[in-house]
Amino acid sequence: MPHITFIHGIANKPAPDVLLELWRRSLAREDGIDCGAENITTSMVYWADVLYRDPDPDVEGYESTDEEVQVVAETREVAAVDPLWRESLDGGERAFVEQLADELGADVSEEEAQAAASAEAAGAPPAAGAPTLSPVEAEAAAQLERIPLPWFIKRPLMKALLRDVHHYLFNSSHSPRPGASYQVRDEIRKRTLAALEEGAKQKGPHVVVSHSMGTVIAYDCLKRVRECPAVDSLITLGSPLGLDEIQDKFRPEWSRNDGFPHEKVRSGRWFNVFDRLDPVAGFDPFLANDYQRGGQSTLVDIHEPNWGNWRHSITKYLQGKELRRTLADLLRP
């Protein structure tokens, strides 16, 4: 029977079985793909506990039809990310974080972002309106201003993304609760490989569906971990893999000409779904030219807008018609 391995993204999450059930329900909702009815097995690579203290107990908020309630539920603990983690960095690590922070607009103020966006709207470069920012930062600031979320959510979200990406790519040591300490990337890689091995035991097609930071994890394992089992196809949703800083960290395995993980994605099919107003994916949503295979773009980028203000939501991505059509096709024997 076919199998889907899900990999979740940034921010804290409910308990693993609850999270898996949320994803399955979103996928099935209203004429979608009902994994139970179609006998498709599923599993979730759960890693929120590596970075957060306890699972999020508020489950109802994730499925609320009130968007304000939903976005608060999905981003609740990002504001609690300790800002001091950056202070202790130096050298190449610090440089990476500063560059990525610029690229994400993680350190810009609301006023600077508004000024940059106004300048851009008037036809000037964004930096002209926000002279305190570098050109890269100003452009990010203008982009961030366009995302229809309140700043008290947007900025912590970018800072949380910055932290999660850094801790993973640099295999940082992190203690989310007393008595627990992890080398972040090692631990998450271990869990991902174990999940992919289980999925490989099913007889049908094995598809990885990853979201947000989960797409970074999926790519890292499939491209850079020799022991990683092969899968049949890959779907990335709301992915930050378009960011140059992240791509650079994948060298030498990654190059623009040959970044496609063809050794471990048997069918050669990778679909990347994004929404332009997704704050995590919106900066650089197109991946096809950045992850080529032998100089050819084989990855397929799909622009499928969600709705409302909170466009990064996995429950929305999973309800997309194009996403569902693509996934159903990949799951066919």
Partner: protein
């Protein structure tokens, strides 16, 4: 039935009955209830009132009214004087059809609860409901004795309201429903009554002004008030809120019956189209949900719902629409026009065997139609059978087909199917879409549901859409638990995506479990469509 340990204490016995009822395990609930009845009758001590109320409520929620009646009777005989227990007893009598007995007991209950305003109101409300049900079921408003029932229902509800419609909203909205019904049925009720529109407005304004969270029963009442006032969009919004609030299947079902039976709504009217599909869709998504639709409603073009509901709600009932579309391919099979001997449905030939191509054939049970006498089909000679697709659109419902030949068959104790060719070949404009087969049977995890569309109790004019829990399956058989008694032989069985997985063929109160699990249980049984397909390969060649 697997052995039940009856040595447990009373508290554990009560919990076990509640659990069996919740699991829709009627034989188990019955055995345990009989044990409790035996103990209640034999013991000097009474069962604690809270346990008595709890077990009766569990039985009521699953509509096990016969068990509820006997247990409540025993509890009252043992000396329990609790008004709620007595009310539960009366409720069972009402739902079992002993309404005249219920009326006289209720009249006593009304008198004896005069000092307890809440119980008094509940008793009056139940009396009103009993008279209401008697009037609605009689379907003969011209007869004076039935008109008297309507008047008595109104009087009981008025007394329950006690001049405070903003407080006692439930009996008040029933007053509104019956005052409007009296007008439609041209029943002269006499006396002075408030304007139903004024009353409905007052009820609605009271509920609309409440701080969230609004209780579910208030949502149902607000919905009904909007129906009374003809406010289609508001009714639709409240129906959606009510479904989204997590209302249970029996609550949604009860509201749906009120709208269908008392308000006489169906989806051919704008209000019915705005409200009923939302409730029905909600019901089908609930454990143990079921409802019936008429062929006329199935034949309505689905797009007409979008005009009424608006595209948001229309999107949310996509799944319900798919279910309705499936009903169009369901046929009644019978020897004469007035009754059905069984059900069948259209399949595309090549979905079952390549050689059959795109021809639309009818699949049913061999115990309904067969060309082998040893199968003892309900219609002994298949040439005598008439096949009518009551819900097919356009001119489809008017045609009666005969059966030209049986293409493949298997006996009742094997795969119990007959695949037949119709005469003339099936045709319909607009076309009926044959079913899509699932890729596989659902996961066997005890959580999946299957959906059946059939003619309830063998009747001819409605389709029962049922949500059933899939208990188990092996390569040949599917076992599922239905929220209602019976089902129709030959009904299609669908997975949660409305893809065909089986052919319904029997319901058992006690059948051996599958996969060597040992023991027996109550289950409905269907034949896997994949097993039928394999059997056809043997008969028609690989």
């Amino acid at each position: 039935m697997e052995d039940i340990d009856l040595s447990m204490d009373d508290g554990a016995l009560v919990r076990a009955i509640c659990s069996a009822a919740d699991d829709l395990d009627r034989p188990r609930a019955k055995t345990l209830s009989e044990e409790l009845i035996r103990r209640v009758r034999a013991s000097q001590d009474q069962l604690p009132e809270k346990d008595a109320r709890k077990v009766l409520e569990s039985l009521r929620q699953q509509r096990y009214f016969d068990l509820m009646d006997r247990l409540a009777d025993a509890l009252i005989q043992s000396g329990i004087d609790d008004a709620r227990v007595r009310r539960a007893y009366v409720q069972a009598l009402v739902d079992l059809g002993s309404r005249t007995a219920a009326v006289s007991i209720l009249s006593d209950l009304v008198d004896s609860t005069a000092a307890d305003p809440n119980e008094h109101c509940e008793a009056l409300g139940l009396l009103g409901r009993t008279y209401k049900q008697l009037y609605v079921d009689a379907r003969a408003p011209a007869l004076e004795r039935n008109r008297a029932l309507l008047r008595k229902a109104l009087e009981s509800y008025r007394d329950a309201v006690g001049g405070k419609p903003e407080v006692n909203t439930w009996p008040a909205i029933n007053m509104v429903a019956l005052l409007k019904r009296a007008r439609r049925d041209r029943v002269e009720i006499g006396g002075t009554w408030p304007s139903p529109d004024d009353l409905a407005s007052r009820i609605f304004d009271t509920i609309d002004a409440k701080e969230p969270p609004v209780p579910r029963w208030d949502m149902a009442t607000a919905l009904e008030a909007c129906v009374a006032l003809g406010r289609v969009q508001d009714a639709s919004d409240w129906a959606n809120r009510y479904v989204e609030s997590g209302a249970e299947a029996f609550e949604l079902g009860s509201t749906l019956r009120q709208l269908e039976e008392v308000w006489q709504l169906d989806t051919t009217s704008e209000m019915g189209a705005a409200v009923l599909p939302l409730l029905r869709n909600g019901l089908l998504h609930k454990d143990k949900g079921f409802f019936t639709v008429t062929p006329e409603e199935v034949r309505q073009p689905v797009e007409s719902l979008e005009k009424v509901l608006g595209s948001d709600y229309f999107q949310t009932i996509t799944w319900y629409r798919n279910g309705l579309a499936r009903a169009q391919a369901v046929a009644r099979i019978g020897r004469d026009a007035s009754r059905g001997d069984g059900t069948g449905f259209l399949v595309r030939g090549r979905d079952l065997h390549e050689s059959l191509g795109d021809e639309l054939l009818l699949l049913t049970n061999a115990h309904v139609i067969s060309d082998r006498p040893e199968h003892k089909p309900a219609v002994p000679n298949f040439a005598d059978a008439g096949v009518i697709f009551e819900a097919a659109g356009g001119d489809g419902a008017k045609k009666e087909y005969r059966i030209r030949e049986v293409v493949g068959r298997s006996g009742p104790s094997e795969y119990d199917f007959a695949l037949v060719r119709l005469d003339p070949a099936f045709s319909c404009d607009p076309p009926v879409v044959p079913y899509e087969l699932a890729a596989d049977l659902p996961a066997n995890d005890g959580k999946q549901r299957v959906y059946i569309i059939g003619h309830p109790g063998g009747g001819t004019l409605s389709f029962s859409m049922q949500d059933n829990l899939l208990l188990d399956h092996d390569e040949r058989l599917l076992h599922y638990r239905a929220p209602t008694e019976g089902g129709s032989s030959g009904s299609p069985v669908f997975n949660g995506q409305w893809r065909l997985i089986g052919l319904h063929h029997a319901g058992y109160t006690s059948v051996a479990r599958l996969n060597r699990k040992g023991g027996v249980y109550a289950a409905n049984e269907g034949i896997s469509i994949f097993a039928i397909r394999e059997e056809l390969k043997k008969q028609l060649g690989a």
